[in-house]
């Protein structure tokens, strides 16, 4: 199972990087969304990927059976999902506002804070 997941994570990451290298902010946002999901899958793979063995300690035992999944990465993913989801929501609103205010979603033209030809610093007294 793990190699399959590893390949999937690699695909997610390459798609995310491709999208984030784009000029247009909406594509960058899509890239970030995919990146977040890729990372969640990566965390998931970090704790043994197994089939149909829930991480529950059977009656009469003290520890998990060896082939059960590790529950901790799943708890970590839960945290990471909540965080990345809220951040994505914020970023989408920000992108929308930027599109409204600046009038473009082309990052090359977003140069309000850093104008293209800034004035030279004073050269003499």
């Amino acid at each position: 199972m793990e190699p399959l997941f590893a390949i999937l994570v690699g695909l997610f990451f390459s798609a995310a990087v491709y999208l984030m290298l784009s000029k247009f902010s909406i594509r960058i946002m899509l890239g970030i969304a995919i990146l977040g999901n890729g990372v969640n899958l990566l965390l998931f793979t970090a704790g043994r990927v197994t089939r149909e063995v829930p991480p529950i300690i059977p009656a009469g035992f003290d520890t998990l059976p060896a082939d059960a999944a590790n529950p901790l990465p799943q708890a970590l993913i839960l945290t990471a999902i909540v965080i990345s989801f809220s951040f994505l929501a914020f970023l989408l609103v920000l992108t929308y506002r930027a599109y409204q205010d600046i009038g473009t979603d082309n990052t090359d033209e977003m140069r309000i804070a850093e104008p293209d030809d800034p004035p030279l610093p004073p050269l003499g007294y």
Binding site: G47, I83, A113, P122
Partner: protein, 516 residues
């Protein structure tokens, strides 16, 4: 039917109640979150926000000072959440480095909150400046005090989301443009950090820093720790604005309210440096050694290119943004050197930089109020009209250049000596060149904005106590630690020593011995 459980859980669970003194470890974070929540509940009564924030941050300084005293007296302190002992439970572990940084951050934030009384208009207060400030402090303090690396990620996100809120306070076009770049690049940085955490867990099976420090030696031959170290380096360098990945900082730091810029410059980049020192020096020292040339090159480039960038600016706020970057380079150099001397230099520089960057931004905000502009071409005559203000400015400028007798001098001396000791003369040369370029840069600011006669007669603006008090206090700290550095120096050396040999840190997390 379930068989009766006979396992003795006392090995994994906390059986004794937490001693009252240990609550100090978690108190600074809880205090900030509670006050932030309280202010959110009182959102209809914006008038009381400022009072709560200033008093609350004063209390925070007190708590952090008590915590520092406790750590100095008794070594690192650990508190475990929810009865599970480490490495299962989440631990807050405070050592000297964390406590020092938390105290410096609290002092800087208190100064910022005082300045904000005059800088943040009622609109900004209604949008929640003070609640955001408290939550930002919760994130920053939590990052300094936590002993668990996933927890560190969570505190990074807490401070990041509050910083987004602060950055777009006012919703001007410039701010939204700056916030886009800041938000996207910082989010990618923390995502890289999360990837590194995922690999870390896959390799070590633990997220507790003390446990990782214990296990790293045994896994070094088989596990890809080098990949891990490189990922952490990239992620934290991005947060700290080190050279190849620093361009979000000058794009965004000059757009928000000046006190927000001051808070960011004082606190946020230093959290990146803190995490870098914690992970590279304490957890993965061998990998840091192998990467040291790369870190040193990045540090040298950051110092020099930051200073050159500052030279090319007319807007003083943007100029300061580049000065922040230049300072980050010095701390990176200290991490690259890695000897106790180098790390203590980086620690000292980080503490000095928290206070100084805060003061510089507040100073520039006040100068712009007096002169009516942030542009060097439009400012003038500040020296003639405001003698003492010019004196305070000169002190802070000299401290930023690393000239004696102010606090910037000592870390620079330590770092230059440490790099000469290991034979890296080019690193020492880069540090000194960076200092020289910064001196030229601030020399020009002083010449144009202070000595030059005012281009246009400006109306006289009074300097209120809200800005005078924090400026004078921070300047007193900068001067005091420049003239009497022994105490802070020995603390920084002790902090670097405990990072290089984390025995006491590990013992505070696992008092019984190694983890099960």
């Amino acid at each position: 039917m379930a068989a009766p459980i006979t396992t003795d859980l006392s090995a994994a669970l906390l059986t004794a109640p937490v001693p009252p003194g240990n609550w100090l470890v978690i108190l600074p974070v809880a205090h900030c979150i509670v006050l932030g929540a309280l202010m959110l509940m009182l959102r209809a009564h914006v008038r009381v926000h400022a009072l709560i924030a200033v008093l609350g941050l004063a209390v925070l300084v007190l708590i952090d000072a008590l915590l520092l005293k406790r750590v100095i007296d008794g070594g690192p302190v650990t508190m475990v959440m929810g009865r599970w002992l480490p490495p299962f439970g989440i631990a807050f572990t405070v050592d000297l480095f964390g406590a020092l940084m938390a105290l410096a951050a609290a002092i800087a934030a208190l100064a910022g909150s005082l300045y904000a009384l005059s800088d943040i208009d009622p609109g900004g207060r209604r949008f929640g400046f003070f609640p955001f400030l408290m939550l930002l402090m919760a994130g920053v303090t939590g990052a300094f005090l936590t002993g668990d690396i996933f927890n560190l990620y969570v505190w990074f996100e807490v401070l990041l989301i509050s910083s987004f809120g602060l950055l777009i306070l006012g919703s001007e076009r410039e701010q939204i443009d700056g916030a886009m770049k800041y938000a996207v690049l910082n989010l990618i940085g923390t995502t890289l950090f999360l990837i590194a955490v995922g690999y870390l867990y896959a390799i070590f099976g633990t997220l507790n820093m003390a446990d990782i420090a214990l296990k790293a030696a045994g896994l070094r031959d088989t596990a890809p720790l080098m990949t891990l170290a490189a990922l952490f380096l990239l992620a934290f360098a991005m947060k700290a604005a080190a050279f190849p990945v620093n361009f979000w900082l000058p794009a965004s730091y000059h757009t928000p309210r000046i006190v927000v810029s001051a808070l960011f410059a004082g606190l946020l980049t230093k959290v990146g440096i803190y995490a870098l020192i914690r992970v590279m020096v304490m957890l993965l020292p061998v990998e840091r050694e192998a990467l040291s040339l790369m870190i040193a090159l990045a540090g040298a480039a950051t110092v020099i290119l930051g200073a050159l960038g500052a030279l090319a600016q007319t807007d003083i706020r943007r100029l300061l943004g580049y000065v922040v970057i230049s300072g980050i380079g010095s701390m990176l150099a200290g991490i690259a050197i890695g000897t106790p001397g180098g790390v203590s230099g980086a620690v000292f520089y980080a503490l000095h930089s928290v206070v100084l960057m805060m003061a510089l931004y507040l100073l520039v905000g006040q100068a712009a109020r007096l002169g009516g502009s942030f542009q060097l071409t439009a400012l003038g005559g500040l020296y003639r009209e405001r003698g003492w203000f010019a004196a305070v400015s000169l002190i802070l400028f000299l401290a930023a250049c690393g000239l004696p007798p102010f606090s910037g001098f000592w870390p620079k001396v330590i770092l230059v000596k440490a790099s000469l000791d290991i034979g890296a003369w080019w690193l020492a040369a880069a540090l000194l060149t960076g200092g020289f370029l910064t001196t030229i840069c601030f020399g020009r600011v002083f010449l144009l904005a202070y000595w030059r006669p005012a281009p246009a007669p400006a109306e006289t603006v009074a300097i209120g106590w809200q800005s005078a008090l924090p400026l004078l206090t921070l300047t007193a700290l900068v001067t005091g630690f420049g003239i009497l550095p022994e105490q802070l120096l020995s603390l920084a050396q002790a902090a670097a020593g405990s990072l290089a040999d984390p025995g006491a840190y590990i013992h505070s997390v696992f008092p019984e011995g190694a983890a099960p």
